[in-house]
């Protein structure tokens, strides 16, 4: 993953397992009365959010504060960006302030990569979601949740997800969560199946390391984890399916469908959930649904990533697949 975390595809298996193991130790800090470590004392992290996302931003903010970093929150709304300032100018402003890391969320795919490789800024760049491209910390927290639930908290240390079968259901086309998860789960040895209406399957999906199916019911009985994706209506510029009712009938998860899953299988959702459409309240509130755990695990994963990228004088993870040194 080098100095930056741009894409889940950049992580090697060993990098990913190191992050998951580190997150397991970070999770123990959350169980303590004083949830704080001095590890990033004196380091400054900017949360640079060009797109609204309360959930991801506060998760990063909690992680940064638990590691004692100085946190600056920057939202595009009401900033100079709305006056027409470019990403380059914003980056150079941050550079001048001596920022050590930038957590960036941007509506355009590739913005974090540009920030990391253009030479505008010296800081480590962490992608917190770019367009329909990648959301690597989300994929990591999902993998962490699966490892904990399917293998066990202590038994999972040092383990990957080899042989686990994961099904991602819904709006794959607009989902950076799906892309990141397919990359990371493949690296960790899991078998991934995408289930979506044909209109919501991206072009070129046959090059992805996963299976594609249009039939949810036949996939459910052989899944260890079923991840429901949010239908991203805000990104839809055309009619991708006839009606919500139709979508829900074919691709929604209700109690009856959940009963067809194996006993140990879990239901995941990256949030925010649209209850009644992709998931019924009955499923969302059941013990098998890990939505709330995923949120808690998100803080631990982000602490682990921040520690491994910023804790020492160089990142702890290997120069694996891409080489984009500054």
């Amino acid at each position: 993953m080098q100095r930056h975390l741009i894409s889940a595809a950049d992580l090697t298996r060993d990098d990913a397992v190191l992050i998951l193991d580190t997150a397991e130790e970070m999770a123990r800090v959350a169980d303590r009365p004083i949830k704080k470590l001095p590890t990033l004392r004196g380091r400054t992290v900017v949360n640079l959010f060009f797109e609204d996302s309360t959930r991801t931003r506060i998760s990063f903010e909690a992680a940064e504060k638990r590691l004692s970093a100085d946190v600056i929150n920057f939202t595009a709304k009401g900033s100079s960006v709305s006056k027409g300032e470019s990403l380059k100018d914003t980056a150079q402003t941050l550079e001048a302030m001596g920022v050590d890391a930038v957590v960036i969320r941007h509506g355009a795919s590739g913005a974090p990569y540009r920030l990391a490789t253009s030479g505008w800024i010296d800081a480590a760049v962490i992608n917190a979601g770019d367009g329909t491209h990648q959301h690597p910390t989300q994929a990591l927290l999902d993998a962490f949740t699966m490892r904990r639930r399917l293998i066990g908290r202590d038994a999972g240390i040092g383990q990957d997800l080899a042989g686990k079968r994961v099904t991602l259901v819904g709006d794959v086309l607009h989902s950076r969560v799906a892309r990141s998860n397919v990359d990371l789960l493949h690296t960790l040895g899991a078998e991934v199946t995408l289930v979506a209406p044909p209109t919501l399957v991206p072009v070129g999906v046959e090059t992805w390391p996963c299976e594609v199916s249009y039939d949810l019911d036949s996939t459910l009985p052989k899944s260890d984890a079923v991840m429901m994706l949010r239908v991203q209506r805000e990104r839809m510029n055309a009619a991708f399916f006839p009606t919500e009712r139709e979508y829900s009938r074919r691709y929604g998860l209700d109690g009856e469908r959940m009963a067809r899953m194996p006993e140990h299988a879990i239901v995941m959702h990256p949030g925010p959930m649209v209850r009644g459409m992709e998931i019924t309240a009955e499923v969302a509130d059941s013990d098998r649904c890990t939505v709330v755990e995923q949120v808690a695990n998100g803080v631990s994963i982000r602490m682990a990533v921040l520690y491994l990228l910023l804790g020492g004088n160089e990142p702890a993870v290997s120069h694996a697949r891409t080489t984009e040194e500054k």
Binding site: R28, P38, T39, Y307, G312
Partner: protein, 187 residues
Amino acid sequence: MDTQASDARPVLEGPDIARVLTRIAHEIVERAKGADDVVLLGIPTRGVFLAQRLAAKLEQITDRKIPVGSLDITMYRDDLRMHPPRALARTEIPGDGIDGRLVVLVDDVLFSGRTIRAALDALNDIGRPRAVQLAVLVDRGHRELPIRADYVGKNLPTSLRETVKVQLAEEDGRDTVLLGAKPTARQ
């Protein structure tokens, strides 16, 4: 701290280590007047094994279960920024916590004292012990901070050009303390 086996000389062997730990266990019972509220916390990696061995000996002496845990100090080190971040080890605090207890920190080698300083910081975030004591297998000197051990297995005056390597059966397959020459001038 790696030492080539060829030029390393053992200063403590298996039976010596067992004897030394038995003595430390007795000293703890004596100083803590029965070790009623003692909690042993080992510093990973080898301190944890030593803490477990000490706990077993204390249980033999006092006939009581002695809580034992581990305390990883990685994130409290003052030299974090000088190296790549290392993988974290396990921190495991016994169920009843450490508040109001006598915590005995256990480590293999006492050297600069910086590890123990970090451990004291880490303890601060976990609770408030009644008192904190330190037990080490080897004290090799060269302190950089005003810290000393309460229980010492062996005082080993060393030069900075030497290395001290503790090997324990749980991790290394055998019990021994090796004194050797440093391969390079770098510490």
